[in-house]
Amino acid sequence: MWTWFYRLGSPKWFYGISGRWLPWFLCAAMVLLVTGSVWGLAFAPQDYQQGNSFRIIYIHVPTAFLAQSCYFIMAVCGAIGLIWKMKLSDMVAKSCAPIGASFTFLALVTGAIWGKPTWGTWWVWDARLTSMLVLLFLYLGVIALQSAISDRNQAAKASAVLSLVGLVNIPIIKYSVEWWNTLHQPASFSVVAKPTMPIEMWMPLLIMVIGLYCFFAALLVMRIRVEILEREWRTEWVKALIKKR
């Protein structure tokens, strides 16, 4: 079992296998995302309360979901890189940061787009959006730390420690923000009325979530491949690859 684990950590092996899987991820992502958005934005039934504006949740919820998962993946991979000194794990963590930050930003923007027709303002300090904002700050902190340290290995280890500290703090931050929100807002709107959503509404949502995961995987893999080529410039197989082109 350990040999499989260590083989997983070989950049060369990953590069080879990801090259074969990448087109599939991209295809799946495209198909699912297009299906999901068309279904959700055009065909799903209207929400009786909010009319058509709620449709933005088909983008907002998946991006928010992914923004949080991405941070978790980044922290876990950082920890693996720290403990087992697996370079590939460091590369995954490094590639997660900008992707996760972009998803968080998208979630905030779509949250604002949803907020305007519903509440009349572009921004509102509700618990979810505020937590998203703090998550964006956490991402930006990790990205800033990585770009400030010139030595690659030190940067990977330092941002691993930071993302782990952030991971421990995320439940505390979410709890405190929700608690703060209930003090200041009598009624809390929820973006998704979860239990009472009919299947025609949550099916496209599910498709969008899965599609966005595939897209995320594709993006991640593309970034990691570039990272591998940069780091393994010394090795024979990279030199051979470059010669081939």
Binding site: V134, F137, L138, L140, A144, Q154, A158, V161, L162, I172
Partner: protein
């Protein structure tokens, strides 16, 4: 070497050094005072407005003052090479780190908490809220020292550490800010505050136990290249 001998040796050393440059100790306090004074100038000197925003303003100002003071934790030890000697010591790094953060708090957070009633007067905070203000600061500033020390350890020797450190550490301070400021607000209008203080206490215990681990790891990473 017992825990207390090691702890006290580093604590005593840091305090001795600090008291030989007493002017450095006053800077965060002056900053605190200046920032608090900006709000009446910017918003309104009216007692009603100020009293309402006083808890938040006092806490944001102490947050920023603590951020500025984090520089003194590791920077000078890094530059004169004594920090790497700590890493080369056969004694546990956890204990030495704990001593450094405690001395940092004694030199920055504790004075902040002690002069806060004076600044609260300037913002017309009701006197019923003063004890709560001091208690939240006494509980919250050590948490900020511990979490801030993680950020300081990660950014030793980098350029523009001030900005980078703020970006890293401020999001982690948000829970402290929320619980502490609302505790003081509650105290000002006569509502119970014990729950808030208990939450702050829990955060303090958590940071005292866990933060030195992260700080020690961060120190080894920053000095390891």
């Amino acid at each position: 070497m017992s825990f207390s001998k090691l702890f006290m040796a580093t604590l005593k050393r840091d305090m001795t050094i600090a008291f030989r440059h007493p002017s450095d100790l006053v800077n965060p306090l002056i900053f605190f005072l200046v920032v608090v004074s900006l709000f009446p100038l910017a918003i309104s000197p009216d007692a009603r407005y100020l009293a309402e925003i006083a808890p938040g303003v006092l806490w944001v100002a102490s947050l920023l003052a603590t951020l500025l003071s984090l520089d003194m934790l590791f920077q000078s030890d890094y530059q004169d090479g004594t920090l790497e000697q700590l890493l080369l010591s056969p004694q546990p790094l956890y204990t030495s780190v704990l001593a450094k953060v405690v001395s940092h708090w004694l030199l920055s957070g504790l004075p902040l908490a002690l002069i806060s009633p004076l600044l609260a007067l300037m913002l017309f905070l009701p006197s019923s809220a003063m004890p709560t203000l001091m208690i939240t600061l006494l509980l919250g500033t050590p948490i900020m020292s511990f979490i801030g020390a993680i950020g300081a350890a990660l950014t030793i020797g980098l350029r523009k550490t001030g900005l980078l450190l703020s970006l890293i550490v401020l999001p982690l301070y948000i829970p402290i800010l929320i619980f502490a400021a609302s505790a003081v607000q509650n105290a000002a209008i006569g509502l119970p505050v014990l729950g808030h203080l208990a939450l702050l206490g829990a955060l303090l215990v958590l940071s005292v136990v866990l933060a030195p681990l992260a700080i020690a790891a961060a120190l080894r990473i920053s000095l390891g290249s």
